[in-house]
Symmetry: C2
Subunit: 247 residues, 2 copies
């Protein structure tokens, strides 16, 4: 963003983005680092910034994500608004806001967005006030700037909820994956062990995955078969609903 445009920013409303990835072993989150202010290191943060006056919320979220991390054409879903009146009042956060904002003490309500991506396709390219941007393991994140921990937790709760009623997890996987990788993904998102045989049976029964002839190569164990997500079947299931009551 050109800094000359910053006076066109809405000083009261921002957008923050939670981008989840999966490295076939753990869930990761795209975070940015900022420059230290007066020698005080800043906590890592979600990619986020004020919206422009004439900008839709969705557009703002996409723009901010692109400006800070280079990620483009990502489908972002709104998680909700976060408006604790004290959300910017941490002294370390105030130090940073005083360096970058015209009205650093002004209350800002932020709109949180989240997305699930195949992280192999997205090498972060930091710019604007992001000194760096990197995929950080979710379980290593215990402090973030502002109220970003709250936004992250709400987004992860949404992911946990959604994966139980919709097969959204496939967005986190490479195009070709093994059932073991899919199983691992569900285990790390739900935070508990799932019986491997039951899992496999259920997934195959839903017809949501389609087997390929191809098998893994160069692995130190018996090579597993590759699968792809069956989008056609998915769209069919959506029409009929994934609901539990079965109406």
């Amino acid at each position: 963003m050109d800094s000359k445009n910053r006076h066109e920013l809405n000083p009261r409303v921002s957008a923050d983005c939670v981008i989840f990835g999966f490295d076939l072993n753990q869930i990761k989150v795209l975070l940015i680092e900022r420059e230290a202010i007066n020698g005080v290191e800043q906590s890592m943060a979600l990619p986020g910034d004020l919206i422009f006056e004439g900008e839709n919320l969705d557009t703002a979220a996409s723009r901010v994500l692109y400006e800070l991390t280079g990620l483009d054409e990502i489908y972002l879903e709104q998680v909700g608004a976060f408006g604790d009146p004290n959300r910017l009042n941490n002294p370390k956060d105030q130090l940073w806001l005083k360096a970058v904002r015209q009205n650093p003490t002004e209350r800002v309500i932020t709109i949180g967005f989240f997305s699930l991506v195949n992280m192999n396709n997205y090498e972060p390219q930091p710019s604007s006030f992001a000194k760096s941007a990197a995929w950080i393991p979710l379980e290593d994140i215990d402090e973030l700037a502002f109220d970003h921990m709250e936004i992250l937790k709400a987004s992860f709760a949404k992911l946990q909820h959604k994966i139980r009623i919709q097969p959204i997890g496939f967005n986190l996987l490479p195009h070709k994956f093994t059932l073991s990788q899919l199983h691992k993904l569900y285990e790390v998102i739900l935070g508990r062990e799932l019986d491997k045989r039951n899992f496999r049976r259920k997934m195959l029964k839903l017809n949501l995955v389609q087997s390929l002839e191809e098998r893994q190569a160069g692995v130190p164990h018996k090579p597993s078969q590759y699968f792809v997500f069956n989008e056609e079947k998915y769209n069919e299931l959506i029409l009929h609903g994934f609901d539990n009551f079965g109406f």
Copy 2:
């Protein structure tokens, strides 16, 4: 709200409330009427207003709802933020904003909230700028002020989604209800016919309703048995999840 406090309002952020009720026949929505401005009648609107500077979003929504309709101690769930830059630009809406707001052309982002209530317990008591407040049948609502149709639609979509995975519909019913009334509720929310026998069987199988000895009195047909919602069973089911995949 004392008008002397209006300068403490956040000019950029508001809260709007969608309150659903069910009269055992159709879904209704709590709407307010406002005074005509210069002879121009205003469309009906969701109860909503600007938030105060030091106020949490949830608190603001509850306060605004109470001030305009008298409804108190209602659990409000956030639907999301609505921020189309043109959401206040309709000439009729501008006429009203010019009469009540200091900066009528200022862009306002609104946070939508929704709730399901047993409407028998809530007789609206309009005050502040609400000339009247009334339960209006959802299917009769085709025009509202600002972007309130969009907020209403998003809230109803959320209700339709949630009722398929959680038994939230019970919040809309009186304490005692018949299975026919419950069946009707699901039909009007989902917008299609549901086989009565199947529905009854599923509901009883889930153990979510508990039969009473009592039957209807003074009805022109064979009196039906009354049921109550089984909250204990519900909490048990929540722990184990209503998920379709069954993990």
